[in-house]
Symmetry: D2
Subunit: 127 residues, 4 copies
C-alpha cells in the first residue's frame, strides 16, 4: 500500500452522526434504507456536492435509481429533507438538499423519548 | 428543553465511521440492513456493551429478533464480525464482538478499487 | 506501507469533539494547553484507560510531568474534570476521570453566548 | 433551553481528527498552540470559510492577531499548511488553505513511529 492510498483514505474523511439518530430513527418511522440514504446525502454534502442525483446515490446502494427517486420523494413529503434554492455569487440559481427538518424532528423525538422515560419512572415508583 | 436533556444528548455521543465504509459497503456485498446492524454493534461497543444481544440490537431496528440473529450469524460466516473470548480481571470468561475482520476487508476493498481506477485510466489513455 | 499499518491507523480511531468546545473554550477561561490536555484525557478514556497518569499525558505533550500535574489539579479545582471512584465486578475500587462537569460548563457557556447574541441584536435594532 | 438552541448546537457540528494526529503532533515538532490553530483552520474550512483571517482565528484563541499571523507563516514555511489559488465559476481568483501537506507529514511520522517500534522489539528479542 502506497502513501498515496492512505492520503486518499484520509481525504474520504469520516462521517459523524449523533448517536441519538442511530438509536431513534426507528421511532421516527425511518427504516434502514432511508437512514442509509440520508447518510449518503450527508456524505455528498460534506464533500461539496449539495444536490446528489438519484443516479449518484443509488450507485452506492443496493437499490435501483427508480427506488431511490421514490425514497427521496417520500423523505421530502414526510418532512425529513428539504430542497432549497441557492444563488451563486454570479446570480445563478441552484438547488441543494437541506437537512435541518431532519435535525428538528430528531430533537422532537429525543425530547419525547425523555418524557416517556420519566413518565414510566414515575409510574413505576407509584406502584 | 432542560440543560439535562442536552447533557444526555452529549452523553449519547457521536458515531463516526470512515467515509470509505459508506462508499464501499455495496462492493463488499453488504446491504443496508447489514451496514446499519454493524453501526449498531459499533455504537453498543463504544458505550461499553461489547456483546449486545439480538434482542437489544433488533429493538432499535425494523427487523425481528429472528432476522437479527440470522443476520449476525451470516456476518460472522462471511467473516465481517468475530466473536472473541475475553477474561475479566477475576478470571471470568466473557464473549465480545470484534470488528477487525471488517476493517481488514474494507482496506482490501479500498486498495482493490484504487487499482481498478488506475487500470481504467491507463486503458483510457491507450485508446 | 503495509495493510497492517492502515489497520493500526484505524484502530487509533478518531477523536470527535463538539464544534462548540472549539469555538467557546476561550470564553470558558481555558487556554490551548488545557484544551489539548482535555483532548488527551478524552482520547485515553476512549481507548479504555480511564485514569491516565501525568507521565502518560505529558509524554504526548510539550509540557513537563510537573506542569501536567499542576494543570490537572487546576482543571479539577476549576470544576472542569472530576475524579470519581468506581468499583470493578470483584469489588476493587479504582479511580477514573469524569468529564460531565466540562460538558455542563460548555452547555452553560453555549446558552450564555446565545443570549448575548440576541441581546446584541435587539440593541442594534433599537438604534 | 429552547429547541432552537439544540438545533444551533447541531449546526455547529463536530470536529473529528485522526487519533494519530493527537498522539504524534509532538513528534512532528508541533506544539499545543499550533495544533489548536490547525484545528481552528479545519473547523473554518468545514463551515465553508476556506481562508480564515488571523483576526478570525485569533478571536477564538488566547493569542494576539500578530502572534497568530506569525504562527500561520511558520506553519506554511515548515510545510504543514499550503495556500492554494482557486477559481470560482465566474473566473474570480481566491485563496484557500490546503491541509494535504499536514496529512502527508502525519502519514510519514506514523510509518516512522511504526518502524521504530519494530526495531525496538527486534532489539529487545536479541538481548
Amino acid at each position: 500500500m502506497s502513501k498515496n492510498s492512505l492520503l486518499k483514505w484520509l481525504q474520504e474523511g469520516n462521517i459523524s452522526i449523533p448517536g441519538v439518530l442511530l438509536s431513534q430513527y426507528k421511532e421516527m418511522n425511518l427504516n434502514e434504507h432511508e437512514l442509509v440514504l440520508i447518510l449518503h446525502v450527508i456524505s455528498y454534502i460534506e464533500h461539496g456536492n449539495e444536490f446528489p442525483t438519484p443516479v449518484e446515490l443509488s450507485s452506492r446502494m443496493t437499490i435501483s435509481v427508480a427506488e431511490c427517486t421514490d425514497m427521496l420523494r417520500k423523505l421530502i413529503q414526510k418532512g425529513f429533507i428539504e430542497i432549497k434554492d441557492n444563488y451563486s455569487a454570479d446570480g445563478i440559481r441552484y438547488e441543494r438538499y437541506h437537512l435541518d427538518p431532519l435535525w428538528e424532528k430528531l430533537i422532537d423525538q429525543f425530547l419525547l423519548s425523555g418524557k416517556k422515560e420519566e413518565a414510566l419512572k414515575i409510574q413505576q415508583e407509584e406502584t
